[in-house]
């Protein structure tokens, strides 16, 4: 069943509604700019865009507190931005500059941030799940009422690490919210071509973990489901599994010619684009005027412009520092 937001949520507060819209737009515009910078060879390596899936990261982050932890995948710029990592430090990281959040050592796929407890940026599919289980284990052993949100794609469900991690988290009653972003394709392999059982919630439920499918294109549905899950997990109920049904509008990475899906399918999904749809809803409810949207766009544009300027003005880490951060630098300030 779908968790629908509108029936059960309190009246949508205007400030909060505009916040959700703004956050989704921040991701969208940030990533559009990233694609431009990639074309201009300012960003290299792999670049995986989240465009189309913004409602998932934005909705889930609303339910988290600063003390909670986030583990994400290589498609994580959006999660980092909404979690509170500055656009400037993420952009500088993608440009390989020492001012980047990881000094240019990680790049697009490995965003980490201590202040917001953002533990990557993990580019091995499924590899982040055991980390999330461990972070939650530490919280449980230290009697901290903290939650770890772990994002991964539906492709990870085929990995052994998914099953091992779900089992361990459930067995030990650990505070993890498993957030599966089901965008239907593991790179170019469609779900039905990689899974004998395509109902992902059924798999999660087999571990005795409460599991719900959620419309990942509906920001309110995502937020409501995430709040429900986080509340249950924080109160000691063990892990939770949410399957967000979503779609990526852009290619898997900048190298992907998209031979595995039709333009028509992409266009159909674009009709469900969470940003214009939410804007329309807000306008219908009288919460958003065209000038509000213009103002948000202007502010978001300014933030991204500053981020790009910051990144472009940044420095390359001296090559003499190449072998730093292999082992901890004890005693170094």
């Amino acid at each position: 069943m779908n968790l629908r937001a509108k029936e059960s949520m309190p009246v949508l507060q205007r400030d909060h509604a505009l916040h959700l819209l703004r956050e989704m737009l921040r991701i969208r515009r940030f990533e559009e700019k990233s694609a431009e910078l990639y074309a201009a060879a300012k960003i290299r390596g792999f670049l995986h865009l989240y465009i189309g899936e913004e409602a998932v990261a934005v909705g889930v982050m609303q339910a988290l507190e600063p003390r909670d932890a986030v583990v994400a995948t290589y498609r994580e710029h959006g999660h980092a931005l909404v979690r509170g990592v500055s656009a400037a430090s993420v952009m500088a990281e993608m440009c390989g500059k020492v001012e980047g959040c990881c000094r240019g050592r990680g790049g697009s796929m490995h965003i980490f941030d201590a202040a917001t407890r953002f533990y990557g940026g993990n580019a091995i599919v499924g590899g982040g799940l055991p980390l999330a289980v461990g972070l939650a284990l530490a919280d449980k052993m230290m009697r901290r009422k903290q939650v770890t949100a772990c994002f991964f794609g539906e492709g990870a469900v085929a990995e052994g690490e998914f099953h091992e991690s779900m089992n361990l988290a459930a067995l030990w009653g650990l505070p993890v919210v498993f957030c599966c972003e089901n965008n239907l394709y593991a790179m170019g392999t469609a779900l039905e071509r990689s899974e004998s059982e395509t109902d992902l919630c059924l798999k999660a439920a087999s571990f005795e973990v409460p599991s719900w499918p959620v419309d990942g294109m509906d920001i309110l549905a995502v937020e409501e489901a995430a709040r429900r899950a986080v509340t249950a997990v924080r109160s000691g109920g063990g892990p939770y599994f949410l399957e967000f049904r979503t779609y990526r509008f852009r290619a898997h990475s900048m190298f992907d010619p998209e031979l595995y899906r039709t333009k028509q399918e992409v266009e159909e999904w674009k009709k469900r684009d969470p940003i214009p749809n939410f804007s329309v809803l807000l306008k219908e409810q009288g919460l958003l005027k065209e000038e509000d949207l213009d103002l948000i766009e202007a502010e978001v544009g300014a933030e991204i412009h500053e981020a790009v300027q910051f990144a472009e003005a940044g420095n390359w880490e001296p090559v003499e520092d190449l072998t730093r951060f292999v082992y901890s630098e004890q005693g170094r300030p």
């Binding site: 990881c102 000094r103 980390l131 082992y327």
Partner: protein, 333 residues
Amino acid sequence: MKRETATIKMTYREAIRAALREALLRDERVFLMGEDVGRYGGCFAVSKGLLEEFGPERIRDTPLSESAFVGAGIGAALGGMRPIVEIMTVNFSLLALDQIVNNAATILHMSGGLFNTPLVIRMTTGGGRQLAAQHSHSLEGWYAHIPGIKVLTPATLEDARGMLWTALEDPDPVLIFEHGSLYNMEGEIAAGAGPVGISEAAVRRPGKDLSLITYGGTLGKSLEAAQELEREGISAEVVDLRILRPLDAPTIVESVTRTHRAVIIDEGWRSGSISAEITARIVENAFYELDGPVARVCSAEVPMPYAKHLEDAALPQVPGIVAAARRVVGRRG
């Protein structure tokens, strides 16, 4: 007998258990997890009795999910705990290779120094117990290839007793390889034995005619060979590497500079082994000190056979070490 020189009789197994117990008593963030470490008492009875003393929270039996519980160890370390993860054998650790190589070894670097992983992983290694080709290999040399982790190979009671605490105080991931044939090794150890350094190799027996360079399960065999060589008038120095990464090249080079001849004894396979690395270090740093070619005694390049006579033939043995030493010093026999 003076108090500080008092010794007690102990096995290698008991020395590790004493170290585990001390760590659990000293730091409440320390916990042990792995397959059968609790109710079973440890596959090799190392953790016997610890469950009763410290309870199931801190002596944590895991499912057979190497990737999940090693990854959970990494996550728990990131979350502020000081986990000790036990993997039954090095062969099983291959199921957790993703977590060890892609996460434990890389997170500090990928995050530009933001997140260190204070994790200790212990595992059994080596052959000699007729356990055939999936329980007997010596893959510690493989792990020594990976920057970002440290690789320890305790071969003495003192190191079995003392390396664990030092490893736990290390801010980065440390792998400890316990050779399976050593658990029953018994000897005298100082009653007050405690933490030992984990940065330097040790000369276990001084000598002047050649250096036998070894570690772990072949230290005993090398010392035995040195005794036999002494009867023939050949004075062999025995260097115990103790740590395979970072390798203490200066101690190796100093020894070879004294003796001008070297035999490396390594239970790993010859091709691409740690013995090859040591040979290269000697050639790079002490080529002109050498009076003859470096020799190696390694395992035969076959998966470990079950039958005792074949396993014996596959592993480095005392006669083989003695023969190699004789050849290196130009004796026939």
